[in-house]
């Protein structure tokens, strides 16, 4: 039943907001009082929120009978999950618990935006999106967005706290930021390539200089500039991190800024806003 699904989705959204808020509070309390147990609880709360977010996506997937990545609202439910994936990977690899409050805040922002602009109904999938490329293209892209968000957070932390070193790994924020960029940029590249191949199958063109494509290119070039100043020109420290952090602006604009462009009305990619 559609009405029940809407109610269930609202309940899940509110629970998610509560879980992420709890994760932030636990982290802040744990860090301020230097009580490790609270920080650990914050990590588990975050993991629980991530699982709940997965339930939300699967529920909508089943209700819609298709992958729920069609509208802005649907991607706003998916983006927090991808931030979760990237955060949990970094937690597992490098024990970067400092990411929890930032990731949770980003999730809250996305979910609150989704709650403010919910889809009135589940829209039908048009023929162009009915492709085997739909899910891998979108998932790869959003995983890239998630990783690049973390690279942004880590770059800002690296600028603020250049001397900080992890007790476990001995690495600073800058190295982690760079690691997140490497992962995010790889995913971004694969996402663009998949999009191009799909575009060729659907419309006969792998590249049409469509505004969304162009901004995908701008994001890609922005990170390429960062990678070149770091890996070729040997920039390190604050100025490299400043380039890294500012590159994320292109990603945000690619995701959410399209409707501001005068050329967007011709775009085939811009999210429907019902």
């Amino acid at each position: 039943m559609i009405v029940e699904h809407t109610v269930r989705e609202q309940t899940l959204l509110i629970s998610l907001l509560a879980a992420h808020s709890a994760a932030i509070l636990l982290w802040v309390a744990g860090t301020a009082s230097r009580r490790k147990a609270l920080v650990t609880a914050s990590v588990w709360t975050f993991a629980a929120a991530f699982a709940l977010n997965g339930v939300l996506i699967v529920d909508r997937w089943l209700e819609a009978g298709r992958a729920p990545f069609k509208t802005l609202y649907e991607t706003l439910l998916f983006y927090p999950w991808c931030v979760g994936v990237a955060t949990l990977i970094l937690l597992a690899l490098h024990r970067l618990r400092v990411l929890i409050p930032f990731s949770s805040a980003a999730c809250i922002a996305g979910l609150a935006y989704a709650m403010a602009k919910p889809d009135v109904e589940i829209v039908n999938l048009p023929p162009a999106l009915q492709s085997a490329w739909f899910v891998p293209h979108v998932v790869t892209y959003f995983i890239a967005y998630g990783a690049l968000f973390l690279s942004f957070v880590l770059a800002v932390l690296a600028i603020a706290r250049p001397a900080w070193r992890s007790e476990e790994t001995g690495k600073g924020f800058e190295e982690h930021a760079h690691g997140a960029v490497m992962f995010g940029f790889t995913a971004l590249t694969l996402g663009v390539v998949m999009g191009a191949v799909w575009g060729k199958e659907a419309w006969g063109d792998y590249w049409t200089w469509d505004p969304k494509e162009n901004w995908a290119l701008v994001s890609w070039l922005a990170y390429l500039v960062y990678l070149h100043v770091r890996m070729v020109r040997g920039w390190t420290g604050r100025r490299a991190m400043a380039v890294c952090a500012s590159s994320f602006a292109a990603v945000v604009f690619t995701y959410l800024g399209m409707s501001l462009l005068p050329t967007a009305s011709e775009s085939l990619h811009v999210y429907q806003q019902p």
Binding site: P126, P127, Q130, M182, T189, W198, G204, V225, H228, R233
Partner: protein
């Protein structure tokens, strides 16, 4: 793009700022020069000997200078700042290509950017991606990338990532070049059973070019199929938002049985009955109570079926039956004033009636108007000017003007201008006689006045006008207004006044008409719903017709409840085609969106369909000889990046470990 360790000039050896300035200025100057060069029509060079000589001279001078400076040039081509310069230039150019409107007509461009238009043209921003500057920079980037790969001797294992990623970009650009030089695009309009052996070529921007391009074989459309999502009718609530309406809720018909809130109005609704194929059966029943009117029940005998018609005496519009085919009119009266019978003797002119409400739900003002009238409405609050009348309204998309197709009132439309109390606020609008509700909904101010237009066509006197008099059970036959016969009304067997197929069933002195809604079939042909609307303690019942014919205004009037089909219901569309070589069928295929057909060096894409022409299929044809090169580049770049980030560090790590062991 050299390794930092090898590049002695990188970092702090030279003060970077002046060089950065020099490079930036150089790139900007080069960009503008290329943008300007790209604006010169090439034909001028082909036509003029002087211009050709000049071009040769420029190329020779530039070539000599570049040859003299080749060492410096080679160093410059592989220098790291240049890589960033290219990246940043392309980045800025791409941003410009999305921020500035692309490929707009000159007047539109000037109007939009005013004084800044010349500058945008100077930097080629009006058409970035097709400009010589953008392509020139891509070409220079390619040359630089090749130089860098060679310089770095990037074929060693640890450098494979570098080779693949940088070589991948060059490969993609080269493939794109092949595609744009040797590729082509075209379009085929196919109809079921028809074939085509040529396509109409298109340019890069998708505009049609003159002429035809032969395919070398023929493509026949055997069958075109459109698949739709299951029919899904819903109750939609729209809320007025400034100029437009915003969708506020969607309730499927099968879930509308419980009370559902209607937007922010505080009212709610629920469906009592849903009729997929709505029809109303009307019956008359004798009544003893007050009210009611005399009724005549007629049976019209058609081929194989009969239909019952009830005429009600004294109810305007319901007391007559117009038999156009027999050029006759049957009117039912209860008592007859023989000196002044209700028979038309002269032509009644057409009538334009305006129904005006100063706010939704206000008592209507009903006024007969004619073109040229100026009315003061709602005690002079509003002024309504009747500007024009078109009997057979049509909107001409080419001239963007309203016109009339004929003098027959097939689609009567009235153009009016409404002045509101707001100074300077006047709105011109078209009202349509056939769709009074349409006028109401499409010309509305939220909470503001509503105007509906009712049109009554001119009436000629009927050849025969038959009066059925209920009180005396008599039939009077008028021919062109003159009484030509009279006789008793019989309620069985014989037809009324000799009219074929019209029989009297019964006459009731006082009757009430009872309407019973029903569904004719189970198919969703004419959906309607009977609903209840609850506001506070009050519940009212309404019938809501689907398909945009009716919208219920709720609350203060800026919330609408409609019954509509869920939009975008086309799930897929596909063409079953045969490839023909002469008369032989060489291949059968199904082309659908995301599933093109490759044949004979072409790819055929399902492009579009036409709602009004279900046998039509639009096929996009693409010839793209650079495609495999581009795809190779995609693979290279993907592998290259993975190699650089995740394989190379392991190789280097293993090597240094091995070296440590050896030492």
């Amino acid at each position: 793009m050299l390794l930092t360790t090898k590049n002695k000039t990188a970092g702090g050896a030279h003060p970077p700022a002046p060089r950065l300035l020099k490079y930036t200025a150089g790139a900007a100057a080069l960009w503008v020069a290329l943008a300007a060069l790209g604006r010169i029509p090439l034909t001028r060079f082909q036509d003029s000997l002087g211009a050709q000589a000049l071009l040769v001279l420029v190329v020779a001078v530039a070539g000599t200078w570049l040859w003299g400076a080749r060492k410096e040039l080679a160093g410059w081509l592989v220098s790291p700042p240049l890589a960033n310069l290219f990246l940043i230039t392309l980045l800025l150019a791409t941003v410009a290509g999305t921020v500035v409107v692309q490929g707009a007509p000159a007047e539109e461009f000037d109007a939009r950017y005013g004084a800044g238009a010349w500058f945008l043209r100077l930097i080629g921003a009006e058409n970035v991606f097709q400009s010589l500057a953008f392509r020139g920079f891509l070409a220079m980037l390619s040359v630089s990338l090749v130089a860098v790969v060679v310089r770095r001797k990037a074929w060693r294992t640890s450098e494979w990532g570098f080779l693949l990623s940088h070589g991948g970009v060059v490969t993609i650009l080269f493939g794109g070049l092949l595609s744009s030089v040797y590729g082509m695009k075209g379009f085929i309009d196919l109809h079921e059973g028809k074939s085509a052996n040529v396509m109409i070529p298109k340019d890069e921007k998708g505009n049609f070019l003159p002429g035809q391009v032969p395919l070398g074989f023929a493509l026949r459309l055997d069958k075109f199929e459109i698949e739709r999502y299951p029919l899904d009718y819903r109750f939609y609530v729209h809320e007025a938002e400034e100029e437009d309406y915003k969708l506020a809720s969607s309730t499927p018909v099968n879930e509308a049985g419980r009370w559902t809130p209607i937007g922010k109005t505080g009212s709610s609704f629920r469906a009592i009955s849903i009729y997929p194929d709505y029809q109303v059966r009307s019956e008359v029943r004798e009544t003893a109570g007050p009210g009611g009117s005399p009724a005549l029940q007629l049976r019209i005998q058609g081929a194989g079926q009969s239909q019952t018609v009830n005429l009600l005496a004294g109810v305007s519009g319901r007391d007559l039956l117009d038999l156009r085919a027999a050029k006759s009119l049957v009117r039912f009266v209860w008592e007859l004033d023989e000196k002044n019978p209700p028979v038309t003797t002269a032509t009644v002119p057409e009538r334009h009636q305006i129904e005006f409400r100063s706010y939704p739900g206000a008592p209507p003002e009903e006024i007969l108007v004619k073109p040229g009238d100026s009315l003061r409405l709602a005690d002079g609050t509003y002024v309504l000017d009747v500007v024009a009348y078109l009997p057979d309204f049509v909107y001409d998309g080419k001239t963007k003007q309203a016109a009339t197709r004929s003098t027959m009132p097939n689609n009567p439309a009235l153009k009016v201008s409404l002045k509101t109390p707001v100074p300077g606020d006047a709105r011109e609008m078209w009202l349509f006689g056939l769709r009074p509700d349409f006028s109401k909904d499409h010309n509305k101010y939220p909470n503001g006045p509503e105007i509906a237009y009712h049109y009554t066509p001119a009436r000629e006197p009927a050849e025969r006008e038959i009066l059925v008099v209920g009180s005396t059970m008599e039939v009077l036959d008028y021919r062109r207004g003159v009484l030509s016969g009279r006789g008793p009304l019989r309620t069985s067997g014989t037809s009324v006044a000799g009219l074929p197929d019209i029989f009297c069933e019964q006459v009731l002195a006082r009757a009430q008409e009872i309407h019973t809604p029903l569904t004719k079939t189970k198919e969703w042909r004419n959906p309607a719903a009977e609903i209840e609307i609850r506001t506070g303690d009050q519940v009212r019942r309404e019938t809501l017709l689907a398909g945009g014919r009716q919208a219920l205004r709720i609350g203060t009037g800026d919330t609408l409840l409609v019954l509509e089909k869920k939009p975008d219901d086309v799930k897929s569309f596909r063409s079953r085609v045969s490839v023909l070589d002469g008369a032989n069928k060489v291949r059968e295929a199904v082309i659908s969106v995301n599933n093109p057909l490759s044949y004979g060096g072409f790819r055929f894409y399902q492009s579009n369909f036409r709602k009004e022409d279900p046998t039509y299929s639009g096929i996009l044809v693409v010839k793209d000889p650079g495609l495999s090169v581009v795809y190779t580049g995609f693979v290279m770049i993907s592998l290259g990046i993975i190699w650089i980030f995740y394989v190379r560090p392991r190789i280097l790590h293993a090597r240094s470990a091995a070296r440590r062991v050896a030492s």
